[in-house]
Symmetry: C2
Subunit: 182 residues, 2 copies
């Protein structure tokens, strides 16, 4: 566009040097008007491109913020999932009966570890899904077995937990495996 501009200055000088050439001037006026119209169209187009780019920048900033928040919120998901079998095993180990003091001391130690593990998970937003005695919820629980409903255990109540389930904030890491009254 610079070239056009310089050319125009030249044309303007020519015009001023020779005020007699009336016909040429009219055509020059026309030409310049065309040039102006073209340049205006180019400007409008460039302005449109700029406005779109600015909108895209705002969108990207928003999307980036949301993505970071999601990554942050669920960052512990993978490690937490991998820890669940260890917690199951610790709970299972604690079901072992011990008869002497050394065994009791070991058991006490393991209990404390389990507590501190659960505390660490809770701090990261990971908690056991409530199950026993709760109404069955297919988004949280997985029914592995059913038993006939009774007066004390109405239909769709969870009767027993076979494997504990956990969630991270609102996301289920592993559903609870349960026996449901039906």
């Amino acid at each position: 566009m610079k070239e056009n501009h310089e050319e125009l200055d030249q044309e303007l000088n020519d015009t001023q040097l020779d005020p007699e050439t009336e016909e040429v001037e009219v055509s020059e006026v026309e030409e310049e008007a065309n040039e102006l119209a073209n340049l205006q169209a180019e400007f409008d187009e460039m302005e449109d491109k700029f406005l779109r780019a600015r909108a895209e920048i705002a969108n990207m900033a928003n999307r980036g913020k949301n993505e970071r928040e999601q990554l942050q919120k669920y960052r512990s998901q993978d490690l937490a999932k991998k820890l669940l079998p260890s917690i199951d095993n610790l709970e299972r180990a604690l079901a072992t009966e011990v008869s002497d003091e050394q065994g009791a001391s070991l058991k006490k130690g393991v209990e404390m570890v389990l507590e501190s593990l659960k505390h660490a998970l809770k701090e990261e937003g990971i908690e056991k899904i409530p199950a026993k005695g709760e109404p069955f919820d297919p988004t949280l629980h997985q029914a592995v077995q059913t038993v006939p409903a009774t007066d004390e255990l109405p239909a769709d109540t969870i009767v027993e937990v076979l494997q504990e389930g956990y969630k991270l904030h609102d996301r289920v890491l592993r559903p609870t495996m349960v026996i449901v009254a039906q």
Copy 2:
């Protein structure tokens, strides 16, 4: 700018209707040339703004990608740090002597849990920092105590580990607390 453009069309029509007014035409040519120069300047400015916005979009995309990669790489950092005391305690619990079969069975269970915990951590890029017998490295180890160096234990060698240290990829989660020969 649209208004200017329409105005210009009008001026052009006036000009064509009255080819006699030579003086006016010259001034009109001048005026239009000015308008063209102004519009060109505005176009250049707009183009510059657009090019800057486009560069910013490319920068944001790059930054966003790097940020996501970093968040992903170190996502397990917080939970892993909170798990370290549990691992310390499990290792300590395993130091307990047991004398009967129940105690041995409990201990076996705890050993398996510790293995599966360490496996889970390793899969997330978390590993014990090598220490005993290694040369002391202040970026990985913390010297809590020193002992005189000997022929077998030259200066700056780690003699004993008081508390294990861990790193997540290249990042130290907790330095190893050590006794160093000096």
